[in-house]
């Protein structure tokens, strides 16, 4: 054995050792991540209820999905979650991070307060928010509105307000993470830039516009992509907060992932669910590729 091992050069030995260690996560990824992903492509061409025989039906699942009015509504909902949720959450997070960076007193405490929701179970938090949104006499928000003489709002029971009511706790939960990343980004900008700008007589606004924001570009791109993917995959909040977990009223709050879940585990239409998964996968892939492309331009 020792003889055999000694035949290799040191470089080869290092490579072999490295691959031995890499083999564990590699096997894990191939069997737990990649294989099921490719399996989903295959299942998406089947009619299969998890138990009975699998029946190959080609592209029929996709044809059915694209002909389904609800799919387009659900896709639009999903895009709305990302399109509104990402800019709103990033703007709030940046403003908080920017000012939080300026203060020393209570900095850690406040940062921790913002971070706690990120660590909290989404389901528990969503349930609390669900109760906040209830009508009088038990709803917290409606009680507050009534103090100021503002009429009651239906919130979750509305086709127009429902989606944003569910988005709010999702934005809130993600803030802590975004703030921490923003602060790290701001602190990584060399102090000398700011000092030079100050000596040259640049104002606070000018520094923000000309130095802070451009220097934060990689941070902003990273956060945009991560939170876009996060909002496109929203599930827990909708499942918990919509009545009967159905993404209602009238599907107005239902995102793609919930639709996938319903097809797979309520109706046991595994083929249709897999086809939807493939569609979601492609959307997320495009988002990630755009990120890679943007990051490459940075260098």
């Amino acid at each position: 054995m020792a003889n055999f091992w000694n035949k290799f050069t040191i470089k080869q030995k290092l490579a072999i050792t490295a691959w031995l260690f890499l083999a564990v996560p590699l096997v894990f990824y191939i069997t737990i991540r990649f294989y099921p992903t490719f399996e989903a492509f295959y299942v998406s061409t089947l009619k299969w209820n998890l138990l009975g025989a699998k029946k190959a039906i080609g592209m029929k699942n996709y044809i059915k999905i694209f002909a389904d009015e609800d799919f387009w509504l659900v896709l639009w909902n999903t895009i709305k979650y990302a399109l509104v949720g990402v800019p709103v959450s990033m703007l709030i997070a940046f403003v908080i991070a920017y000012w939080l960076n300026e203060i020393d007193f209570g900095h850690d405490f406040i940062r921790a307060m913002y971070f706690i929701p990120f660590l909290t179970t989404a389901v528990a938090m969503a349930w609390v928010w669900r109760w906040f949104y209830q009508p009088l006499p038990i709803g917290y928000f409606n009680t507050m509105l009534s103090w100021f003489g503002i009429p009651q709002q239906p919130f979750l029971r509305s086709v127009t307000q429902g989606l944003y009511s569910i988005m709010a706790p999702a934005v809130w939960a993600g803030l802590g993470f975004q703030i921490v990343i923003f602060i790290a980004g701001i602190r990584a900008i060399p102090r000398s830039y700011f000092e030079a700008a100050e000596i040259d007589g640049a104002g606070r606004r000018q520094i923000l516009r000309e130095i802070t924001l451009p220097a934060l570009k990689p941070t902003i791109i990273f956060l945009t992509v991560v939170s876009t993917i996060g909002f496109l995959r929203i599930f827990d909040q909708v499942y918990t907060m919509s009545a009967d977990s159905a993404g209602g009223p009238l599907n107005s709050t239902k995102p793609l992932v919930l639709m996938i879940y319903e097809f797979a585990f309520d109706e046991f239409k595994l083929g249709r669910a897999s086809a939807l998964t493939v569609i979601l996968f492609l959307i997320l892939l495009v988002v990630s590729l755009v990120q890679l492309w943007l990051m490459r331009k940075q260098k």
Binding site: L50, P137, P151, G248, F268
Partner: protein, 417 residues
């Protein structure tokens, strides 16, 4: 071979076969249901009496939360694991049958003539393709729960007997603050609860229609009767303003909190309300219309899973006979509060006159069970139609046509191939 060696062999073989025969006598079967305090207790009692009567058979009782129930059963049985006898909602029968999760009950252990003679006629929904696929221990029906204190306060002496009276009473029971916000709703309408059954099997029929065609393959509620029924149920919130869907989160919560004059629910809710301190309630039969009454009944059945064969199947059949016996049904009523599935047990005077169970049991005699293809999307029909009318101001008939199209697709997909 040496003699002693032969002896050792003989002993070894004898010993092994003894152990084998011992194992063969002790059959263990598994029973699955979802976790619900009194149901678990009732099955534990039934297992105890079954094991005492059938030495050599043991029953392992497994239960887990309702939320995961269907998924776990489906995955376990398809993997050749899981229960031998399994509890399922009657509305899931088609899903389970199509999925190959359960097997038909053998007509030798469960003669069809005997089932049809002994059980309530709605158990007939369990007969598909000439076979029975499951049998209930208990059945459920709907009734009207009303808050006695709120009724007395509003000057009402008894429950509404007709739909018109129900609306009139609800108006009297409703209390609002200065800004018009509900403090107490007259009727706690709740489309996520039992109200879709009420609309489908009671209201539509009271207005002279029927929800589905006789063969159960076509949606038949896009008629004047269907629209009238939808209008009746949405009017509580939209027109009369005596209730709000989702008030206090759920109708049952509003009623338990003493902030709803009336709510519609099943007999399984009695124990919750009975335990609620300070809630003074009574139960009556569902209001009628034009001299007619209808009710909806549903039930959970026990089926034999497709994995059970050989002696396990024989043991499973014995256990199924045991838990659908007359004694089991009375025990189930006393422990769980669900109604016996056989008229001979249910319709005895003591049960019919029972102040809490009586209205439910009397309702059974004019009840229909819906032959669901898939309950969840079918339930969504009423939820969506209701929201279209109440939240979007749609015309009831237009809303019905929309949801009927979606529901018909569920039928077509199921019966199509």
């Amino acid at each position: 071979m040496k003699k002693w060696l032969k002896k050792v062999f003989a002993l070894a073989i004898g010993g092994t076969s003894l152990v084998w025969s011992g194992l063969a006598q002790a059959v263990e079967i598994e029973y699955w249901q979802y976790t619900y305090g009194s149901r678990v207790e009732a099955i534990d009692k039934l297992i105890e009496s079954f094991e005492a009567a059938n030495p050599g058979i043991t029953v392992k009782h497994t239960h887990f939360p309702y939320a995961d129930y269907r998924k776990k059963v489906a995955i376990a049985v398809s993997a050749g694991d899981g229960p031998d006898v399994v509890q399922l909602y009657y509305g899931w029968l088609n899903d389970y049958r199509e999925g190959g999760l359960i097997q038909p009950l053998s007509s030798s252990a469960f003669p069809h003539a005997k089932i049809e003679e002994e059980f309530f006629p709605m158990v007939g929904t369990m007969k598909v393709d000439g076979n029975y696929w499951g049998l209930p221990t208990a059945v459920r029906s709907l009734a009207l729960f009303w808050n006695k204190d709120l009724f007395a306060e509003a000057g009402l002496s008894g429950p509404p007997e007709t739909l018109d009276e129900m609306v009139e009473f609800a108006k009297k029971l409703t209390k609002k603050d200065a800004n018009g916000n509900y403090l107490t709703v007259g009727f706690a309408v709740d489309t996520d609860g039992q109200d879709h059954h009420w609309w489908r099997e009671v209201l539509i029929r009271l207005y002279g229609g029927q929800p589905y065609s006789d063969d159960g393959k076509t949606v038949a509620y896009t008629t004047e009767a269907g629209a009238k029924a939808l209008k009746f149920i949405t009017d509580f919130e939209a027109t009369h303003k005596v209730g709000s869907n989702g008030f206090m989160n759920r109708g049952q919560d509003a009623f338990a909190a003493g902030q709803a004059g009336m709510v519609l629910d099943g007999s399984f809710r009695i124990s919750k309300f009975a335990k609620t301190e300070g809630l003074n309630f009574a139960i009556s039969e569902l209001p009628g219309h034009d001299g007619n009454r209808f009710n909806f009944s549903s039930y959970w059945v026990n089926g034999i899973s497709s994995k059970a064969d050989g002696e396990k199947k024989a043991a499973a059949e014995k256990f199924l006979q045991h838990i659908t016996s007359d004694e089991a049904m009375q025990l189930w009523l006393d422990t769980v509060g669900e109604l016996p599935a056989k008229p001979a047990v249910a319709l005895v005077d003591a049960n019919k006159a029972h102040p809490l169970y009586g209205p439910f049991i009397r309702g059974l005699s004019y009840a229909n069970a819906t032959a669901f293809v898939s309950e969840k999307p079918q339930r969504q029909s009423l939820i969506d139609a209701y929201d279209m009318v109440v939240l979007q101001g749609a015309d009831p008939m237009a809303a019905l046509k929309k949801v009927a199209k979606a529901e018909q697709e569920v039928f077509d997909e199921f019966f199509g191939d």
